[in-house]
Every structure is written in C-alpha cells, then in structure tokens.
C-alpha cells in the first residue's frame, strides 16, 4: 500500500474536496462514521464487514474498534480519524480494494492501545523504558479479530 507523506496527504485531501468527491463519499459513503465510536459505524462500509464479523466473535468484542484502532488522546484521536477517514473514503471511492491491510502507522497505534489496557500484565516484559520488542499481535493474532 502506498505510503502517505504528510504533504501528499494534504494535497490529496485538497484535490479531493475541490472535486467535491471527498465530501460526497464522506456523506454518501458515510465517511463521517469515523467521528463516531460505535463499531456499527465502521460497517457502513461493506468492505469493513469481515473485520466487523471477526471482531464480533473475538475475545475483544466488548472493546470498540476505536479503542484499539484510534489513539486514546484527544488531538491525535481526531487527527487519526480524519486521516484514516479520508484515506479509506478515498480508497473506497477510487481504488479497487481487494485485500485490506493495516498500515504500519496504525499497527503502532494498536500496540500502544494494547499496552494501555494491559499495562500491568505487560509491565514486566515491556518496561515503558524500552520500545516493545514487537507488535503484541505478532503473537496474539486473534485478539482483535479471532483467528
């Protein structure tokens, strides 16, 4: 998947809105779902269906999509939402997306969230002083979406 530099992102965003398509998707394609925390909002895009279904049977079905996929803190939270919201809306509109694959940046967001909830459990193996040896889901493949 192509990496998104900050500048390119801004540019694409601009172009998108100018064409009015970004806005179109945002509304028609329910891109604004990103501003909500209800998992159901994510499946407004059929392409999120698998992820929703697998989440619904995973050990973390009591945890919302955003608690894992979006940074906990305010500012970063909405920035990330806007970014992903746009990227996904953009891809949904223009790309023939066959397989959905998480971006490294979002893998880091995930891991931070795992640690946040499981601070004590991993305090010994993952002292905050050092970066995690790797993403939690390198082993806990099933945590978010079953297997």
């Amino acid at each position: 998947m192509r990496p998104w530099t900050g500048a390119g992102l801004a540019l694409a965003f601009l172009a998108g809105t100018v064409l009015g398509l970004g806005a179109y998707t945002f509304v028609y394609g329910k891109g604004y779902s990103y501003l909500l925390d209800d998992p159901a909002a994510c499946v407004n895009c059929h392409i999120m269906r698998d992820n929703y279904d697998t989440w619904a049977v995973a050990t973390h079905r009591t945890v919302s999509c955003n608690q894992c996929h979006v940074p906990a803190s305010g500012a970063a939270k909405y920035l990330s939402k806007a970014r992903n919201g746009f990227l996904h809306a953009y891809a949904f509109t223009f790309k023939d997306v066959q397989t959905v694959r998480i971006r490294p940046s979002n893998q880091r967001v995930l891991t931070a969230n795992c640690q946040a909830c499981h601070t004590r459990m991993v305090a010994m193996i993952e002292p905050r002083s050092t970066a995690p040896s790797r993403f939690c889901f390198a082993c806990h493949k099933g945590a978010g979406h079953g297997f």
Binding site: T25, Y28, G29, H46, I47, F92, T93, D96, V97, Q98, T99, R101
Partner: protein, 410 residues
Amino acid sequence: TIVIRQQESRLTYFRIVDVAEDEPDPAVWGRNFPDQYEAYIKTVRTSELVRYSEFGRYGGSEAFSKLDRHPDLVKVFAGNPFGVDYREEQGHLQALRAVQETKRLGDAKPGTCMTCKSSDVPRLMKRLGAARFYATPMKELIAQNNIKHAISCADCHDSKTMALRLSRPAFAEAMRARGIDVGAASRQEMRTYVCAQCHVEYYFRGATEKYLVFPWSKGLRIENIEAYYDEIKFKDWEHAITKAPMIKIQHPEFELWSSGNHARSGVGCADCHMPYRRVGSVKVTDHWIRSPLMNVQNVCATCHRQSEAELRARILEAQDRTYQLLSQAERAITDAVAAIEKAASEGATDQALAEARALHRRAQIRWDFISAENSMGFHSPQEAVRVLGDAIDRARQAEIAALRAPRPRR
C-alpha cells in the same frame, strides 16, 4: 464508484436461464453467472494475459516442451510415450485441444484419456457407463459423440444448486478403497475433492478395459503407492535402456498436497487457486484458475501477514530447494541408466543386474512423484525434498550395484 458497486451487489443474483443438468457449454451457465464465466474463459488465454517469467520460474501456462528444456528426460523416459511429447500444462480450456494434439500415444489413446479433459464427459459417462467409456478408443468417442467442450462448469457444479459435485467415478472409488465416503464430504473438503478428480496419479487396469484407477488403497505417500504397484506386480513400461520394470507418475498434486502443512491446516486447492475476489460489495470465487504466483496478494495475504514480496520469496525459496535436489536426482538416475547399460553391454547377466534394475525402478518412481507434480515442491516443501533425497540414495545405489555386477570372464 460507490453507486455502481451497490448496484452490482444486487445484479449477481438474477437467474436468466435454467441450465440443464450436465450442460457442457460454459457460455450457457455464463448467462446466469457472468463474473465467474468471464474469469473462467481467461484460462484459455492465460499465457497471453500474463508474462509468467515476471512471476515464477517453474510453472506457467505456456505449453513449452519439457523434453526440449530437459533433454535428459528422453533418456529417463526411454521407451515411454512421455519420451515422445511432454509439455508444461496450460489452463483448463486448453485441455481438449491438448489431449487431441499431443503426439503422446498418437492415435492409440483409449477413451480413458478423455476422462479429465472435457465437460461433455459427465453426460457421456452416464449414457455409456464408465467401463464402456474407458474401453472405447478416444478418436471414436469424440467422433460418435461430438465432444467439443474442454473442462468447464459441469465438471464441478450441479446445475440446479450450483453446489460442487463429483462428476466422475474414479475418485469416489479410490477414496472408498481407503475407507472414505466422499458422499459425506464437508463443503471445505469439496473445495479440494473437485480438483482431486483429475489432479492425481492414475493407471489403467486391464489391457483392453483400460479402467481408470487411482493407486491409493495403501495410502497417498509415495511409499504407499509404490507398495500398491509392487503388490500387483504392475509396470507402465519396460525401460528401453535398463530393461527395468518402470512406473510413470502423473500430476500427483492431491497426493503431495495431502502431506503438507496447508492440508493439515485445512487449506484446500480452491483456497489458493480460486481465491475470493471482491466485485463491489459481493465476494465471488475467482474462476481464472491459474498459478497463485500471479496473484499472491489475493491468494496468500488473506491468511499470511507478510508482504507480497516476502510471500513470493517463500514460494520461490521452497521451489529452488526442491529444484536443486530434483536436478541432482535426475543426474543420479541418468548415471545409473548409463552404468546399467554399460554393465549389460559387458555381458552382465539379467540375474546379476536384477538388484540394479529394482533400484532404478524405486529411484525413478520417487523422482517422478516430485517431477510430475506441478508445484515444484511447494504443495509440501519438506516432504518433496525428503522424497528426492531418498530417490538420490537409491539411484546412486543402482549405479553401484551395476558397477559391482559381475561380468563374465574373458
């Protein structure tokens, strides 16, 4: 755009025509299922549509001659029809043309050769019965019943329910011999079984019956298959140079796959050769059946987290290792053939050469189990290399036995 996609998701359900049972013509089925049809007909042109060399090394869809590419094979298959004409296989819609055009067996092909090549077969077998179908010379069979369709929908599907079905008896018979009732197969198993009707080792029972049999009653490993052939003292041909009683192995994809970690994990043929494809909001099975190397992102990434490049590298690495030992085994076999030839020419008796010939048979059936298999070992990487290592051992021992075979004193 989104609008179109949402429409597509409705479209794919209309039934425009009622398809008759065993309908051989894919175009008819295609009216109801355009996505699957349009993908499937690509199998007739895969070689034009993708430049294989950009993806892989050992497969592909161009019918190049394996004999030209590996001249040693002529010696290895001396006396067998495969030494005459033997090509890389292509897409399903080429099957009928290929079986008619190949010089292998020329006009001597029995009806059995048609079994796995045409969607006219299910219909025909019901009418003639399998036994008569097999025993009729292929040319007659074609002429009398104007067989004109290559493999297609009817070979795998029930026209009413579209469920997968087994359209030929040999597989069910062979599984029964293993104590497995294919009638009770799960849907996931069927995603492999439909392929296993054809992508398997076989032989013809009876000089005139030419009855199609899969040699599985003792199991699917090469050791089991060899034991089966030994027990019935079967040989496909006598090697023209060494005079050893030989077995020719054909496309044992199902057998090799079944020993691998993918099979252990329930990953079937269709999972890799017919991955799901998103068409708007619905997922359809990609009917452009071809090498997964051309489609790694859709095929492998569903289950594996690694990048496309990494996954491709794993396939090629497993295949390169297999190819290395395959080549060494081939050389060991040709060395053994030469040694036996020399011993015989120096007057070693049949009795003195018995051991060398037995070893030649054992070495080559193992080598061929991997050579004739079409994934260059990927379907079961470690097993493939194990079998080749064993083949090398026996081929070199055949050479040694020939060197040791006493010559008459001058």
